[in-house]
Symmetry: C2
Subunit: 189 residues, 2 copies
C-alpha cells in the first residue's frame, strides 16, 4: 500500500530527495498512517515495547499512529536549544539533515526515559541514518533497551540501513527504495 502511494504520488525532486509531502510529511493521510501503524504493531507487537521514541516534527504523526496500536506513550525528541517548557535535565545528541544540510541538537527529558523502558524507535525516513543514530545514542545514555527501529521509507541506496543492520539492530522498513535514478523509483523486494 505504501509502495503504491509512493509510486503514484511521490516526486523525485533531486537525485537523493523524495517528496512525499502529499501524504506523509506536510499533508498527512491518517488512514494510510493508521495502516502503517498497524504494520509496525504486527512486526514488533510481540516485543514487549513500553515506549515509542521519535524526533519532531515529521516523525510524530507516524509514531502516534503506531502507539495507538501498542497502547504505549510516544516520546518525541525536541530539536534545537532547550526552552522554558522543557526540563533542564535531558539526554542530548546531535543529528545532521543531509536534505537541509543542517546539524541540530536533540534532547529528551531524562525522567521520561527510565532504564527499564523497552523502546521502539520510529521515523518516517531513513537515509544516512543520522536521526536514528541520535535517538539510539539517547537510548544508550538512558540505559533503556532498544527493541528495534521501524521506518516508513528507507532509501536503500544510502548507507543508514546497512550500518544499523551491521550493528545487529533490528530494522524494519515498510518500503525500501533501491534507486530513484532519473526520477524512476524502484523498490527492493
Amino acid at each position: 500500500m505504501l509502495e503504491e502511494r509512493i509510486a503514484r504520488e511521490a516526486t523525485v525532486i533531486a537525485p537523493d530527495v523524495l517528496r512525499v509531502d502529499m501524504f506523509l510529511n506536510h499533508m498527512i493521510d491518517t488512514d494510510l498512517l493508521g495502516e502503517l501503524g498497524r504494520e509496525f504493531y504486527r512486526l514488533f507487537g510481540g516485543d514487549a515495547i513500553t515506549k515509542i521514541l521519535t524526533v519532531e516534527a515529521s516523525g510524530i504523526a507516524i509514531a502516534c499512529a503506531a502507539a495507538s496500536y501498542f497502547r504505549v506513550p510516544v516520546l518525541f525528541a525536541k530539536k534545537g536549544r532547550s526552552n522554558k517548557t522543557l526540563d533542564a535535565d535531558v539526554y542530548s545528541s546531535e543529528i545532521h539533515s543531509f536534505t537541509k544540510d543542517v546539524t541540530t541538537g536533540i534532547s529528551v527529558a531524562r525522567r521520561f526515559l527510565p532504564a527499564d523502558d523497552r523502546v521502539l524507535v520510529i521515523d518516517d525516513f531513513l537515509a544516512h541514518g543520522s536521526a536514528v543514530r541520535g535517538l539510539c545514542d539517547i537510548i544508550g545514555q538512558s540505559g533503556a533497551a532498544l527493541a528495534g527501529v521501524g521506518i516508513a521509507i528507507e532509501k536503500g541506496f544510502q548507507p543508514g540501513g546497512a550500518v544499523l543492520r551491521e550493528q545487529g539492530i533490528r530494522l524494519e522498513s515498510l518500503a525500501i527504495i533501491e534507486s530513484m535514478d532519473g526520477g524512476e523509483i524502484r523498490f527492493s523486494r
Copy 2:
C-alpha cells in the same frame, strides 16, 4: 478527563507557562489524545470539515488524533525557511511564541489548500493566539472556509480566546484555565 490530567500532572513553571510535557507535548499519551480527538469530532463532526490544519510540532499529534475520527487529511504548516522538500509555491504567515520569545515564519503549500476546503484549525495551546491567527491568515489567503478552531488547553487569562470569539470565529477549547496564580490551576466552567 483533560482537566483531571492537567490538575494531577501539569506544573506551572512560570507565571504564564504551564508544563504538560508528560502527556501532551513531549511525551504523548495516545489514549488521552484519542479521547480529545473524539471530543473534537463530537463538537465539529456535523460541520462538513474537509481538512484539519495545524502547525508543527506539538499540534501534529492532536490534529492526527482528531483527523482519524473525521477521516480527513491533516495539513501541518511548516516553520522556518522553506527547504528543498517543500514547494516553492506557498501561503505564508508569521507567528510569535511568547513562551520562547521568538517569531517564526510558517508556510503551507498552496496546492494542499484549495479554495473549496472547509478547514478546522486544531492546536494544543491557545494563549495569545498568535499561532491560530497565523493559520487563519493562511486560510484567508487560500480562499478556503474556516469552520472553526479546536484547542486542547486555552489559557483564559490571556487574550487569544477573547479576540477570536469577538471576531465571530467558533472556538472550542476542551479545557480553559482561568488562572494559575501562585501555581494553583483553576478552570473556567
